[in-house]
């Protein structure tokens, strides 16, 4: 076991933030999720106050911060929870068995707390920390001691979230990005749940050195996820119908290095077919033959407009925006590179595919296909794209609805284009695991969509 220890290169897998990097801020344990870009001037609004995000630069992903109300203005300070303080709900399983308190005598009439709003403001002006205020509120609550231990912790947590909110610095990765969007704006990603996305990647065998053809109508999430798995080798061909590429703002959140960005290329379907007929002997399809249900144009337009207006990647339900003192936008619009300092420049992904890439795809075929077009007709897309895959290449198609996939699978069988066909529906349930309180979570996602997977067969084209 004593080979040279491989080093996870900082370029591939950075664990420390840097100026200009994209981050996911998790406020108060998932209550609010905000995508942000770190720079000297960027800020985060919590409640009605703005905190600078500068203290977060140069910190390890996974670090926790607490909002401290300083004498002048609120700031984020690094917070390391003491080991006996974190997740106190589980503290002393044995104590729960001895719990004799219950809530029969507690009347909820809003009069238990003797500290007023003005008292609290006065404390703040004197420099009290958030934690001190929480302790003061507990001390001044008439009913606190009568509560069960579980109830006390719930109370403490509630006050802490209000007076000493915590911000967790998360690394934007396929998993966290997908979960954030699924939680707050699932429609933008076509209700593609994280387990469904993981299945797409596995079933399509997305790996280093592969050339993956992607139809991504889920905001760029699928393209980004594939590029993440490729890690800079191979290529991701993001293709589209019609005149304009689909919105892919999500790709920018991934913190991709230049190397990875270069692997993401745009290529239009129509052009592809004109090339195909010349080189591969595949019958050419004219644009008119695409009988697609048109993409709901207005939905796409709205996404793009919203992004430009807000210049924010927020998925928070409140209005969170990033302001920058020197006026530069923190987020770089798709086809424009900020001319300001290099540190704020977001690397460009999704360049038009260069000729040699196209040539290589023609000669070798794509090694797999992923379609995430939850509002399109699956068969229409598949029958034209499958011939572009190399023989024995796997494919995975995601759809919100079952019927289009059933029709697609049936047609693939009839046309003898693929084998190993399977329609799967992923089912995911989370559990709460606590002493004496273990059970599945009360809330659950009802659907993560459906996936049709299979492998392209070799067809003797001389017969077709």
């Amino acid at each position: 076991m004593s080979e040279s220890k491989p080093e996870s290169g900082p370029v591939i897998n950075p664990r420390v933030t840097w100026e200009g990097c994209s981050v996911l801020l998790d406020i108060n344990d998932g209550d609010r999720l905000v995508f942000a870009r770190l720079s000297a001037g960027s800020t985060l609004k919590i409640g009605n106050k703005s905190c600078s995000l500068q203290p977060l630069i140069g910190c390890t992903f996974g670090s926790l911060f607490q909002v401290e109300i300083g004498k002048e203005k609120p700031y984020l300070s690094r917070f390391v929870p003491p080991t006996d303080d974190s997740n106190v709900q589980d503290e002393g399983g044995s104590q729960l068995q001895e719990e004799s308190r219950d809530n029969r005598a507690i009347i909820d009439n809003n009069q238990a707390q003797t500290l007023t709003g003005e008292d609290i403001d006065a404390m703040r002006r004197q420099g009290a920390t958030g934690n001190e205020i929480v302790e003061a509120l507990i001390a001044n609550s008439a009913t606190f001691d009568k509560k069960t231990q579980f109830s006390q912790e719930k109370y403490r947590l509630k006050k802490q979230k209000k007076y000493a909110p915590r911000v967790l610095l998360r690394r934007p990765f396929c998993r966290s990005i997908c979960e954030a969007y699924f939680k707050k704006y699932p429609a933008r990603i076509g209700f593609l749940r994280v387990d469904a996305l993981s299945l797409l990647l596995s079933m399509a065998n997305a790996t280093a050195n592969s050339d993956v053809l992607v139809v991504d109508m889920v905001g760029g999430l699928a393209t980004g996820a594939v590029a993440e798995r490729l890690g800079g080798s191979g290529s991701v061909c993001s293709t589209y119908l019609g005149g304009t590429p689909y919105p892919t703002e999500i790709i920018r959140m991934f913190n991709f290095s230049d190397e990875i960005c270069k692997t993401i290329m745009l290529f239009k379907i129509c052009t592809f077919f004109h090339f195909s007929s010349e080189f591969c002997g595949v019958p050419s399809m004219t644009c008119a033959q695409f009988k697609m249900k048109p993409v709901s144009e207005s939905a796409n337009m709205k996404m793009t407009i919203q992004w430009r207006e807000k210049t924010s990647l927020s998925v928070g339900t409140e209005d969170v925006y990033l302001s920058s003192k020197n006026g530069d936008t923190d987020l770089v619009p798709e086809n424009k590179l900020s001319s300001s300092s290099k540190t704020c420049k977001a690397p460009k992904a999704g360049e038009k595919a260069p000729k040699q890439a196209i040539q290589s795809w023609k000669e070798n075929g794509f090694s797999s296909l992923i379609i995430a077009a939850p509002e399109q007709d699956a068969w229409g897309l598949v029958k034209d794209l499958l011939p572009l895959l190399t023989y024995s290449a796997p494919f995975a198609i995601y759809h919100q609805y079952l019927q289009p996939l059933a029709t697609c699978m049936h047609n693939l069988q009839l046309e003898k284009m693929a084998i190993g066909l399977q329609i799967s529906e992923p089912w995911l349930r989370e559990y709460q695991v606590l002493p004496s309180r273990t059970h599945p979570c009360m809330q659950m996602s009802g659907t993560g969509g459906y996936i049709l997977s299979g492998t392209r067969m070799y067809t003797d084209t001389s017969q077709s």
Partner: protein
């Protein structure tokens, strides 16, 4: 498996060669991994297949036996490999594997520690995820199983990405040489809480851990142990429901009043020998229903992140 080596990558031009590993596909749930050797044959219910006939054909081809039966020859992928292995040992299935790799945030260049190795099905998917610059160190306390796994990894061409060690992780923990270097740790052990303190030492800050346990008691105990040094502790169950698809001809002529059970609107006419367009007695529809047999449980997946202390 083939993809990771550019010279062996599947493509339009790449044909089956001597020494290649192929997946022989008989039907959906019957597959077998075979190493191509020009003098060998494959014998099954469809007859005798000569390997020599396979050489020079593209992957994905249909090949025939002496009796006219046929099978398909597919290029190996970790998913097909898992299905091939599934008849041998108790393993994690595709849904669990895919979810674990994503949730552990395994990407090219990562260092992954795993115990136990078992049949190497998950290990193969880890190898795929860390290629080409990362590495998977997997440990099993059963010497024979470790040796057998090593052979498999040679056969599937991933042995440069995986190192198999014989070690009792529950008793001894992971080797010190990996301290602070692991991006992810995966545990499939009967008593994972015994290995968690060692896992804590191996992981980088914010590194990910996953423990797979069939029983809820194991999960409870693991979570208890995780709480001191880990955060973001979440436990899931994941299952895959499959659907059967059929064509269903519904006979309209039975309804005198002209009403009918309309099938879902078919966007395309089936191009095969269906009734002519003007047919008014039957209306083919494609219908789907969940498969009657399905898996009820594989195990609970508990994930956690190593706390940041600096």
């Amino acid at each position: 498996m083939l993809l990771m080596d550019s010279s062996k990558k599947i493509s339009f031009n790449r044909c089956i060669r001597e020494g290649d590993l192929v997946i022989v596909y008989e039907k959906h749930d019957t597959m077998k991994a075979v190493k191509v050797c020009e003098n060998s044959v494959l014998q099954n219910r469809f007859g005798v297949f000569k390997h020599l006939d396979w050489i020079g054909k593209p992957f994905g081809s249909k090949v025939f036996s002496n009796k006219g039966g046929f099978v398909y020859l597919l290029a190996p992928t970790p998913e097909l490999w898992t299905l091939v292995l599934s008849h041998m040992t108790q393993i994690l299935y595709i849904a669990d594997i895919g979810f674990v790799v994503m949730y552990l945030e395994v990407v090219p260049g990562c260092l992954v520690l795993e115990s136990g190795t078992g049949s190497g099905s998950l290990t193969t998917s880890f190898a795929r995820a860390v290629a080409p610059t990362g590495h998977v160190y997997t440990f099993d306390f059963h010497e024979q199983r470790a040796a057998s796994a090593r052979e498999d990894f040679e056969g599937t061409g991933i042995s440069n990405l995986v190192t198999v060690g014989v070690r009792d992780i529950q008793g001894e923990g992971f080797p010190d040489e990996f301290s602070g270097l692991a991006d992810s740790v995966f545990l499939d052990l009967p008593q994972p809480w015994l290995a968690i303190p060692s896992a804590r030492n191996m992981l980088k800050q914010d590194g990910t851990l996953c423990s797979f346990s069939p029983c809820i008691e194991q999960v409870q105990r693991s979570c208890e142990t995780l709480r001191s040094d880990f955060t973001d502790i979440r436990t899931f169950e994941i299952l895959l429901r499959t659907y059967e698809v059929r064509e269903w001809k519904m006979d309209h002529s039975k309804f005198e009043d002209g009403s009918s059970i309309a099938g879902p609107p078919c966007k395309r006419r089936q191009p095969s020998s269906e009734a002519s367009v003007g047919d008014d007695t039957s209306f083919p529809a494609v219908v789907a229903r969940p498969s009657a047999e399905t898996r009820g449980h594989t195990g609970y997946l508990t994930f956690a992140r190593r706390k940041c202390v600096s």
